[in-house]
Amino acid sequence: MVQLTDFQDLQRQAMADWESLHQDGRPIIMVGTATCGRSAGSLEVLDALRAATEKQEIDCHIFEVGCTGACYAEPLVYIIKPDQPAIVYGDVTPQLAPRLIQSYLIKDNPLPRYSIGTFGNGRIEGIPDLFSTPVFEPQARRALNRCGFIDPTSLEHYLANDGYTGVTKAFAIGPEQVIEEVKNAGLRGRGGAGFPTWRKWRFCRDAPSDQKYLICNADEGDPGAFMNRSLLEGDPHAVLEGMIIAGYALGASIGYIYCRAEYPLALERLRGAIKQAKEHGLLGDNILDSGFDFHIKIKEGAGAFVCGEETALIASIEGKRGMPTPRPPFPAVSGLWGKPTIINNVESLADVGLILQNGSDWFAEYGTEKSKGTKTIALVGKVKNTGLVEVPLGITLRELVFDIGGGAPDGKAFKAVQTGGPSGGCIPESLLDTPVDYDSLNAAGTIMGSGGVVVMDERTCMVDFARYFLDFAEKESCGKCVPCRLGTKQLLGILEDICAGNGRPGDIEMLEELGRGIKAGSLCGLGQTAPNPVLTTIRYFRDEYEAHIHEKRCPAGACKSLISYYINNDLCVGCTLCAQNCSTSAITGEFKGPHYIDQDICTQCGVCYTVCPKKANAVEIISPSLRL
């Protein structure tokens, strides 16, 4: 058995190693190899860096780190020279990698134009301080504080950065006090509904049972959301630490992590972290001689969105089809295998670790009166700086979209922002000063959700946007209850008709009536929120629906059936690029001569619009369609 003193020795050793990592005079090279980095080619960059340092015979530390959140600049490479701040290089290619080594490590030229910022002590001329840049300055990185800065496969790195001190603190103060601490912190569930975490724990702790379970809900399924994945990939021990503390507070000896199988890297990192925690006595029987036993099992989900719903998730772990069951009984009273069960989101659990490490006052420094702390957000869509951010609750959507996100790219005008994924609603520009907190977003007709934020610009059709989310909800409905199964199908059918120019007068009212019926009648949260994208787009963008139905016109120029591409020959320079790229040979025209699109052959793929040189900008989108 591992005693508390053994753990403290381990911790001291880890801190000493961390210190020497930064002080031994060798440069450090870190590469962001979370899934986002890998898909941008960071593993190739890592290989190139290794090859370059070997070739140049540079004695340095090279290791992989998780995601810092700057997805727009992946692959990211961090180079720290002794006594210098870390330089973060963005958009690094395998070709650029050896140049960085050669230029910065050997010749001491940091190549500022490839860098997005520095962090740590000191400044480097020509490179801004990363955390003072508009993207990072408004952020408050707490749950993500280690993400991207430590090696996620290293327990020592985690320990050297306050890791597992939350667990020792919890054991020192006892389970009742742990719940009290989480209550004082004002932590609300980060998975979407925002229920106070301590209250849920209280129900479960007070429920008499010989066995209780804790489940970490890592079934992140919203389109465009990747907060939990990034955290699991970049700092898996943070989630394990939160689980140990939660399990201790509840009196649960078994914890499950329900993680979707589409997250292979997160699963790999979790398995590795669990193995390390077991080896060092942080998981298992009688953890650090506290008398508390806790075991963690991983259950891979098959990618059903509905399995994020608590009762469906439990059914899935039990080996049944992932279908929700009516509540009561609530899982806190009768959950997995009929035993009291608490399901907490990945981020909630990471926050629990932070609360115990730093205290509830520290946690509650940020946030509003009713929504304390910070929130990780996946900022995606038509925004310049897409990525993973963490902001204090209460920041306005405007700050999020324009300050951090940098607004819509390519000079397009911002139109709307969707929060909460398929369950959330759209917010128009007029409401952009809405604070990002549970209650304000609810009042605006949407939800906080798990933290996915999708930005739309003037080229996004709001009817098409609603159609996209209903298509998702209709496919992901479990099929159990009538309003959700058949209602989402009807909503989708009507939206498809409207987008195709087959909308009928009365369809908007039909959508609203069905939407209300589905919300009121559905069995679980999926159906109860599925109509939100439709209802909020009707609420804020009714004119777009009416233009589609009555004028067969798509104001955003996005719905293919309602638009035509047209070449304005007053602007056309006759470069022939459009004709060369047209997949259906619908464009005719000579070099330096006028060009024409045969509307009968054109499939509205939009390639001509994309390839037309910016300075000419001769391809126009016309709606209603020119086709008869």
Partner: protein, 344 residues
């Protein structure tokens, strides 16, 4: 059993503690529309039709336990609007061939639509399903038409909880969800034993017997296939048996039947069935009276007492018949050599 008083739509009723509001209402002749509820099965709250208003909050009455002083409204505007949407969605998704459907007037969906009242124009506003799904006719006794299925899940729960086989489950997701066997194979290739318990509980015409006629009257009887002695009602039309229905009151089967008892009744009116004893005379079987046959058997038995005699009884006989056989063999034929085909 403790009695509880509650009010439904202003009427005070009494119900047994532990029952649901839906069961209490139905027991008191107050109809609340419901599609996925079946008295033999645990409630699941899937159809969302049985919603009632309790202090302005909608609850599914199949899941709501009765409690003292509960005041329930079955048709408040909110509950009514939600139910209206649900039934319209179901009808828009359902084939419109009621006249040729086997469920006919037994159809629960029709019953509910009739109760709620449906505006045909509103249904027309909704989008109809495009391509019909193929009908599974592989089972010799019943067919499965997924187009008529309302996914109440009664068949799934029946097979799992009553029959204990678990042949059926929900397959696919969203609006593509259908009821299916393992791997969504045809019924004939599944582990289905064709007992038909799901078929009799299907509230619509989705699972329907292939050979069925409405009887003019029913005769209470006992199934002849085995010693269990399941209680049945034989449906009769003229001098023909046209249907079999399980007797829910008979202790031995409590409303259940197997494939033979439920579907194997065509032998009754079959032309090859022996209706009189036959005696072989000059190498040919000749029809005889029971007296002639019994006399002949008695006469021959007299020649083979003791170890020359053995009796093998049939499992299709009742326990009483089998008791008599062994008594006859031991007492009259004076041998213990008596056996039964089910002892193998």
């Amino acid at each position: 059993m403790e009695k509880i008083k509650l009010t439904i739509d202003g009427l005070e009723i009494e119900a047994e503690a532990g029952t649901s509001v839906l069961d209490a209402a139905l027991a008191n002749d107050i109809y609340i529309p419901h599609l996925c509820h079946h008295p033999d099965l645990k409630p699941v709250g899937a159809c969302r039709l049985c919603g009632v208003d309790v202090n302005g909050r909608m609850e599914m009455s199949c899941l709501l336990p009765v409690r003292e002083g509960l005041d329930v409204k079955t048709n408040s505007p909110e509950v009514g609007a939600t139910r209206q949407v649900a039934i319209e969605l179901l009808l828009a998704d359902h084939p419109q061939g009621c006249l040729s459907c086997g469920a006919s007037l037994q159809c629960e969906l029709l019953h509910i639509a009739d109760h709620i009242g449906v505006d045909g124009e509103r249904i027309e506003r909704l989008r109809r399903p495009s391509e019909p799904l193929p009908i599974d006719n592989s089972n010799p006794f019943f067919s499965f038409d997924p187009n008529k299925c309302v996914l109440c899940g009664i068949c799934v729960r029946t097979c799992e909880d009553i029959v204990g086989l678990g042949v059926l489950d929900f397959v696919n997701r969203g609006s593509r969800t259908v009821i299916g066997t393992f791997g969504n194979e045809p019924f004939i290739d599944s582990i289905c034993e064709s007992c038909g318990e799901c078929v009799v509980r299907c509230p619509v015409g989705s699972l329907a017997p292939k050979r069925w006629q409405r009887p003019s009257h029913e005769v209470q009887s006992t199934c002849v296939y085995c010693g269990v002695g399941c209680g049945i009602y034989l449906g009769v039309k003229g001098d023909q048996v046209v249907s079999v229905r399980a007797d829910r009151e008979r202790p031995s089967n409590q409303g259940s039947l197997c494939v033979k008892g439920r579907y194997g009744y065509n032998f009754i009116n079959h032309k090859d069935r022996l209706t009189t004893p036959l005696i072989k005379k000059e190498g040919q079987f000749v029809e005889a009276t029971w007296d002639e046959a019994l006399d002949l058997v008695a006469e021959k038995f007299a020649d083979y007492k003791g170890s020359e005699f053995a009796a093998l009884a049939s499992a299709k006989c009742t326990n009483e018949d089998n008791y008599l056989i062994q008594k006859f063999t031991r007492a009259v034929m004076q041998t213990n050599t008596v056996d039964h085909c089910a002892r193998l």
